[in-house]
């Protein structure tokens, strides 16, 4: 038998016929050195109904996708939230009207018999007080029928002081300067409000800075004052706002006074015979000139005699009340930057500098020749820690207590704590030779007495806010719980709704 191929030419071996295997098996690859036959089974297929791998430590329940709620309401308009925050409500029609509540007047502001009672603020005056921003949003005026304040010891002293300065007597034309301090809720801001209301009844001119913070937190525009002194800065908008407050609140007084001095800085804008109201309005209309206008207004208010040529329309100027709240913010570097990107000290703002200069008794020329009251209050809740101010107030208290500044008991700043020299200088001890210039005083408000507290709590009861019998024992308990009659705490206790079981 002849073999199927030729032995001589193995190279020409015809290709062997392919194994007849299913196509899937041919694809099976087997490693070359394995002698064992390949298992021609197909790989295990995943079963369809296989249970899913159990989940641990996570939710096993079926998740439902939540639909996002469609935003339907619109956000409040720009400025609406702020307006709501700053809104001042002075009346509550649900509160009871109190019979026999007296209004503050020139007669009863010195009446010691009214101590411990509530004096209402006269309704026509409310607009003036609103204009000088005497009310603060969180003060709780909105729970009573109409605003009123407690006559406490300090209020009566203030009344006597204001009465003495404005009426004929030895205190006429005196300048009193006070720093009002005290614990949180002790009534510092309301003390300022009482001073303003008394000043309005006595037809004084009231100039206020309701919040010192607003001038140093870089919320209003600022610019170097002039080319001559580029390191002093003026805030025109803030000054215009100040003029606006002053004009609105003192419109009656200012419109009765007319210009009596020459104001070269304002050039032709000032006409002779112009009222002070019109003068101040110049600054409101043109904020660029606001600072000059304010200075002119200040010159007019502190004038004692007319300049030559103005004698015809001159009337004596009324005393001036200057109040400011939250003093500590003016005692540190402001948020404004200079051209070198270094923070500007608050005392380099000309506005601040002007009001702080009032604290120092002027040696040769009286600060307020027509008399007046300068009341600056600190704050206990929104107050930056300024070491210089702390020491300065301590020194002030020591001086008031009769400690000689050269004695070792006189508090000295810790040399390692870097007290601000400029701050210390503001409150520095220097007595003026002028007889009407009072030295700087420190007035610390603390709690009210039990009798005053009783009057205050009765006010709540008679307004229908407090449904308890006001007895001496009950008042005494609240007086203790309020930290010794701190009036802000007493108010919280009085307005607390109690469910009588």
């Amino acid at each position: 038998m002849v073999s199927s191929f030729c032995w001589s030419c193995l190279t020409r071996l015809p290709p062997a016929p392919r194994a007849i295997l299913p196509p899937t098996l041919t694809a099976q690859r087997v490693a070359a050195f394995h002698t064992s036959t390949a298992l021609f089974s197909s790989p295990v297929k995943k079963k369809k109904g296989d249970a899913p791998v159990a989940k641990f430590r996570q939710a096993k329940s079926a998740k439902m996708k939540k639909k996002k709620p469609v935003e339907r309401t619109r956000p409040p308009a720009v400025g609406e939230r702020k307006a709501l925050k700053k809104r001042i409500v002075l009346s509550n029609p649900n509160a009871l009207e109190i019979e026999g509540m007296q209004d503050l007047s020139a007669e009863n502001m010195v009446d010691a018999r009214l101590r411990g009672s509530i004096l209402g603020l006269p309704v026509p005056m409310l607009d003036q007080l609103r204009a000088v921003q005497a009310f603060k949003p969180k003060q709780g005026w909105s729970i009573f029928r109409r605003p009123g304040t407690v006559v406490r010891r300090e209020t009566l002293e203030l009344g006597r002081l204001i009465d003495g300065i404005s009426s004929e007597g030895e205190n006429k034309g005196k300048v009193v300067r006070k720093i009002v301090t005290g614990v949180k809720g002790s009534g510092k801001t309301v003390h300022l409000l009482q001073a303003m209301s008394m000043a309005f009844t006595k037809n004084w001119v009231v100039i206020t800075v309701p919040e010192a913070q607003d001038l140093v937190i870089a919320n209003t525009a600022y610019a170097p004052l002039s080319d001559e002194n580029p390191n002093v800065y003026v805030q025109n908008d803030a000054t215009a706002a100040l003029l606006s407050r002053t004009v609105t609140a003192n419109q009656k007084v200012l419109s009765s006074l007319s210009v009596s001095q020459a104001h070269p800085a304002l050039k032709s804008a000032v006409k002779p015979g112009m009222t002070l109201e019109a003068l101040a309005k110049l600054g409101i209309q043109d904020p660029a000139a606001a600072w000059n206008v304010f200075q002119a207004l200040w010159t007019e208010l502190t004038a004692t005699a007319p300049a030559p040529g103005f004698e015809k329309t001159f009337k004596p100027r009324p005393p001036v009340l200057v109040t400011m709240d939250n003093l500590a913010h003016w005692m540190k570097e402001s948020k404004y930057n200079s051209i070198n990107c270094t923070p500007i000290h608050a005392h380099d703002l000309v506005f601040v500098r002007h009001f702080l200069s009032l604290l120092k008794p002027n040696a040769n020329k009286p600060t307020l020749p027509n008399g007046g009251l300068i009341l600056y209050a600190t704050s206990a809740s929104n107050s930056p820690a300024v070491y210089g101010l702390t020491v300065a107030l301590k020194q002030l208290a020591a001086r008031q207590a009769g400690v000689n500044p050269s004695s070792p008991e006189y508090p000295q700043p810790d040399p390692y704590l870097n007290a601000d020299k400029r701050v210390l200088a503001v409150f520095d001890a220097s007595k003026s030779t002028a007889p009407k210039e009072g030295a700087l005083e420190l007035q610390t408000l603390s709690g009210i007495t039990r009798e005053e507290a009783r009057g205050f709590m009765e006010y709540f009861a008679r307004s229908g806010l407090l449904r308890e019998t006001v007895t001496d024992a009950w008042v005494g308990e609240k007086w203790t719980l309020a930290g010794g009659g701190v009036i802000g705490e007493l108010e919280k206790l009085g307005r607390r709704l109690r469910v009588i079981a």
Partner: protein, 316 residues
């Protein structure tokens, strides 16, 4: 069994001999309670005593004739003193029976209320076990204590000496309740001092007569405690006795949190107030300002996340 080994046999013989020698001694000691002690000793015994040590000389001697008439006065076997000898705790039961008998005897005597009875420091259970030398169960000791307390309630003016001496046996030595600290007094400046603790805070209060001013660490009440509840609880002792406007409080408090400090002051004020007016104690107790809350934060344990919390269980 000892009898099965030869060694044991010897041992048994020795023990018999020893017992025989000891018999008169035992008779005297154990039957001492019997009315007739026997001076009579059999002659045979004496002979044997002289012949001690020589087992070979031991001769059987017939026991004396049993005289049944003598039996009640001189029992044939050893009789324990206590009837409770076989109860396991005879001394304890004797005490118990004696007290029960006393109580039965004097049950008709007038008693006073437990608070007026003289305070007695009875033995603690462990001490009592040591004293009687028997394992006294807790429950039975409690029953004994009840008996003691009942006997102690007999009006001290009429209590018989017998009862008093019986109770004296159960007192701890040293009279622990006899040593009392001197009662606190108001000092020469009119200050009463009180200390109080709560949680991690401790307070010292000086209470003087005044007008209701409160200073805590030199600060006013509302500066230290912003929360009204804490202010109220700090002066609660004065408030509930309506003494709030009659005293001034000067408190020093440290440690812990706000609530703990307030409640430490509560306790301290109450204690200081008791120095001024001890008669207020029932009112203050009702107001809950005298009771000390001794709870403290429980310590953290190893293996726990906090004091009790265990780590989360994790599979593998």
């Amino acid at each position: 069994m000892a009898w099965q080994s030869p060694n044991g046999l010897v041992h048994a013989m020795h023990s018999i001999r020893r017992a025989a020698q000891l018999r008169p001694f035992l008779q005297r000691s154990v039957i001492s309670a019997s009315p007739i002690s026997s001076p009579f000793t059999p002659t045979g015994l004496r002979q044997r005593m002289s012949a001690r040590g020589f087992t070979t000389e031991l001769q059987p001697v017939a026991a004396p004739e049993v005289d049944l008439a003598e039996f009640p006065v001189k029992p044939a076997r050893i009789i324990p003193v206590s009837a409770a000898y076989f109860s396991g705790s005879p001394k304890f039961i004797d005490h118990l029976l004696r007290l029960e008998a006393l109580l039965a005897k004097y049950a008709s005597l007038p008693t006073v209320s437990p608070s007026d009875a003289p305070r007695m420091a009875w033995f603690k259970l462990l001490q009592f076990r040591d004293v009687v030398g028997e394992p006294v169960p807790t429950k039975k000791y409690k029953a004994l204590l009840k008996l003691l307390q009942r006997l102690n309630r007999i009006d001290p003016t009429v209590a018989p000496e017998e009862v008093r001496s019986a109770l004296g046996l159960f007192l701890r030595p040293g009279n622990p309740f006899g040593v009392k600290p001197a009662p606190a007094t108001v000092d020469d400046k009119g200050r009463a001092r009180g200390k109080g603790k709560r949680k991690a805070s401790s307070a010292v209060v000086h209470l003087v007569e005044g007008e209701g001013e409160v200073l805590v660490n030199g600060k006013t009440l509302n500066e230290v405690f912003p929360r009204l509840h804490d202010r109220e609880s700090a002066v609660w002792a004065l408030r509930c006795t309506s003494r709030l406007d009659k005293y001034n409080v000067w408190a020093t408090v440290q440690g812990g949190g706000v609530t703990g400090q307030a409640e430490a002051i509560t306790l301290a004020v109450a204690r200081a107030l008791l120095v001024h007016e001890p008669a207020l104690k029932p009112i203050l107790r009702k107001a809950g300002v005298i009771t000390v809350d001794a709870r403290r934060v429980e310590r953290k344990k190893p293996g726990h996340v906090k004091s009790r919390k265990m780590p989360t269980w994790v599979k593998r």
